[in-house]
């Protein structure tokens, strides 16, 4: 018997008991739909993350912080006299360990680390723009090599002696700029409180406006000159005895550092009692969370498919029983066991094929509709983020997996059919 005839027969056999076939296909359909949608979301999200962060550029940067305290929550720690830096009372009753020059030396000593500098984190009070109103602001130092997405202008230049910053997208209209383009090149004033308790203003030039994005939630980016100036103002009037401290140290490694070497450097830093994280690590954590959610959803989809495969077994066992005579006749006429097995296997695969094809198409339809909805509602502020994304390959992989599951489910009935003895089948009343 030719393969094309076997496929044709399998197909028309399925059409013989339409209700049964449709019910079986619906079960597969649900599994396929769920798998398609969850994977669509998974790849949509990770595509966006990659787009946002994947080519961050600053691959030579390690953010080094003191290791988090293991004994956290077990009462206050013993006060140690300026040994590994001081602690800053964060105001929440938590002691955040600080770092000092000694730490910088220690970090620079790790082989592979090219340089280490304090991550200055001045905390400005407000910003004043063209409308002369004070608004609260967050700021972070700009790290060279980071790819910020800009709505207008350019990135802050850390080599420049001029005070520069980029503003978050939503700051520009509030402080009085009519458009992101208009803000570029204009001067703003940043208010900051000195250690002596006096409020002062520092002027800076807006060089760009940041696009809204998932990872950059709202802070302005200051260039080196501005960061240093703000930090200097902030420590004005500090008693000379007060220890110098910072929350983190930026360590730079060679740009060509391999990922193995990077791991080695990070573990060396950990051995010395530091927390070491690259930007890729931060992305990794985010991806892991998304991945875990997708995995849970996929788990449910697979359960649906396992249930569906019992449906396939049941449907085909019934079909084998009903067609006992037919099977016997075909065997009597010389159709071999293998072909009978194939006939029922293909029926199973066809059930998987139709269920997964319809499920995938419906999943893609729902995904694309969700994209439309999301981008006009809760993802409105994140341009370029489409909630779901589908590639022909991943859809094909899902379909193949489901067809494989269907085939495996079909082997039991197919074996039973292929083993029927023609005589018993022909005597069957």
């Amino acid at each position: 018997m030719k393969l094309i005839d076997i496929i044709r027969d399998a197909n028309s056999n399925l059409l013989r008991s339409k209700a049964r076939t449709i019910l079986t296909i619906i079960a597969i359909f649900i599994g396929a739909l769920t798998l398609t949608v969850t994977n669509g979301i998974g790849s949509g999200v990770s595509k966006y993350i990659d787009q946002q962060l994947g080519n961050l550029g600053a691959e030579d940067v390690i953010v080094v912080q003191p290791q988090a305290d293991d004994s956290f929550g077990s009462g206050p720690q013993k006060y140690e006299e300026a040994e590994t830096g001081t602690s800053s009372n964060s105001g929440f009753g938590l002691l955040i360990p600080m770092m000092n020059d000694q730490d910088i030396q220690e970090i620079t000593a790790v082989s592979g680390v090219v340089s280490a500098e304090p991550m200055l984190t001045p905390a400005p009070d407000y910003i004043v723009g063209p409308n002369n109103e004070k608004y609260q602001m967050l700021a972070q130092p700009f790290i060279s090599g980071t790819n910020l997405e800009l709505a207008s202008g350019v990135l802050p230049d850390n080599e420049s002696g001029e005070n520069q910053l980029t503003l978050p997208f939503d700051h520009t209209p509030v402080i009085g700029f009519s458009s992101p383009e208009e803000a570029v090149g204009k001067t703003v004033a940043i208010g900051i409180t000195t250690a002596a308790g006096e409020q002062k203003e520092v002027e800076a030039t807006v060089v760009g406006v940041q696009e809204k994005s998932l990872v950059d939630l709202g802070g302005a980016n200051t260039n080196d000159a501005l960061t240093r100036n703000l930090a200097a103002v902030q420590s004005e009037g500090k008693p000379a005895s007060a220890p110098e401290g910072y929350l983190a140290v930026i360590a730079r490694v060679d740009v060509d550092t391999s990922s193995d070497e990077m791991e080695r450097i990070k573990s060396d830093l950990r051995d010395r009692g530091y927390e070491a994280q690259t930007f890729q690590d931060t992305i990794g954590i985010f991806k892991q969370v998304v991945g875990a959610i997708i995995a849970v959803l996929n788990f449910f989809a697979v359960i649906a498919l396992v249930a569906a495969s019992f449906g396939i077994v049941n449907t085909l066992l019934m079909a084998v029983q009903e067609r006992t005579k037919e099977i016997g006749l075909m065997k009597a006429m010389g159709l071999g066991r293998g072909k009978i097995f194939l006939l029922f296997s293909i029926e199973a695969i066809l059930l998987g094929f139709w269920g997964s094809l319809l499920g995938s198409l419906a999943g893609i339809g729902i995904g694309l509709a969700a994209n439309q909805y999301a981008s006009s509602t809760f993802l409105k502020d994140l341009p370029g983020f489409s909630l779901t994304s589908f590639s022909p390959i991943s859809v094909a992989v899902i379909m193949l997996i489901i067809m494989l599951i269907a085939f495996i489910a079909g082997t039991l009935p197919a074996r039973r059919a292929s083993r029927k003895h023609p005589i018993e089948a022909l005597r069957y009343e």
Binding site: D5, K325, E326, L329, A332, M333, G334, L335, H421, L426
Partner: protein, 229 residues
């Protein structure tokens, strides 16, 4: 082709095991020669169908041997047996075993489809066979919509489709009224006369048996007369 198409030597068939064992055939020695018409005659339950199934290589004997042409059937592989049944045997069963939802033509071409013939070629051949049984106008009718006589003619057309050397017919007129039964009988004997197809007809109808060249009488699984010429 040697004179003997099928020969049995001391063939025994026992159904079931131990206490439930039932000897359906006991020391059967018969031969079927090329071109002859042979009736296997006996009461219901005497073992006629069992014998026919063995001759048609649909089953294996418990002991004894079956020669097909010059070959020992027990030495042939499942594939070779399938091949012999597909290429040289035609079957007519008491029950029609037609696929009721399918057309008469598709029922007729089933052995050709199994043989791997292309759709076009087998449809052409199938139409010729339906013409031979004067049912060409029913080619596209569903088998379910045909009368008993028409169904049995479709079955004969199907048995003829692969141009067999030997047709096994198990009570071919058992389900038909006398008049229709006669038509089917004539059709079968004509095939023997015109094409030289060997016929093995299982029946308890003595009139039908009398039309055959030779009658093999079977009683309680034993051949009582006519096993060999």
């Amino acid at each position: 082709m040697p004179a003997q198409v099928v020969t049995t030597e001391n063939v025994t068939k026992i159904y079931g095991k131990k206490e439930a064992a039932f000897t359906a055939l006991d020391g059967v020695n018969i031969e079927i020669r090329a071109g002859e018409t042979v009736a296997i005659v006996g009461k219901s339950g005497s073992g006629k169908s069992t014998l026919m199934h063995l001759l048609a290589l649909l089953d294996r004997p418990t002991s004894g041997s079956i020669q097909i042409g010059s070959k020992d059937a027990s030495k042939l592989s499942a594939k070779q047996l399938d091949m012999i049944r597909n290429k040289t045997f035609g079957f007519v069963f008491q029950q029609f075993f037609l696929n009721g939802n399918d057309t008469a033509l598709n029922n007729v071409t089933l052995p050709l489809k199994i043989a791997g013939m292309s759709k076009k070629a087998r449809n052409q051949r199938g139409m010729e066979m339906l013409e031979a049984v004067e049912l060409e106008d029913k080619a596209e009718s569903k088998a379910n919509d045909l009368s008993g006589g028409q169904k049995q003619r479709v079955v004969i057309a199907r048995a003829l489709a692969n141009n067999p050397k030997l047709i096994f017919a198990d009570e071919p007129t058992g389900n038909l009224d006398t008049k229709t039964g006669k038509i089917i009988e004539n059709l079968l004997f004509n095939l023997n006369k015109k094409k030289g197809i060997t016929l093995v007809i299982v029946t308890h109808d003595t009139d039908l048996a009398a039309r055959c060249h030779r009658q093999i009488f079977i009683e309680d699984g034993r051949i009582v007369r006519g096993g060999k010429r």
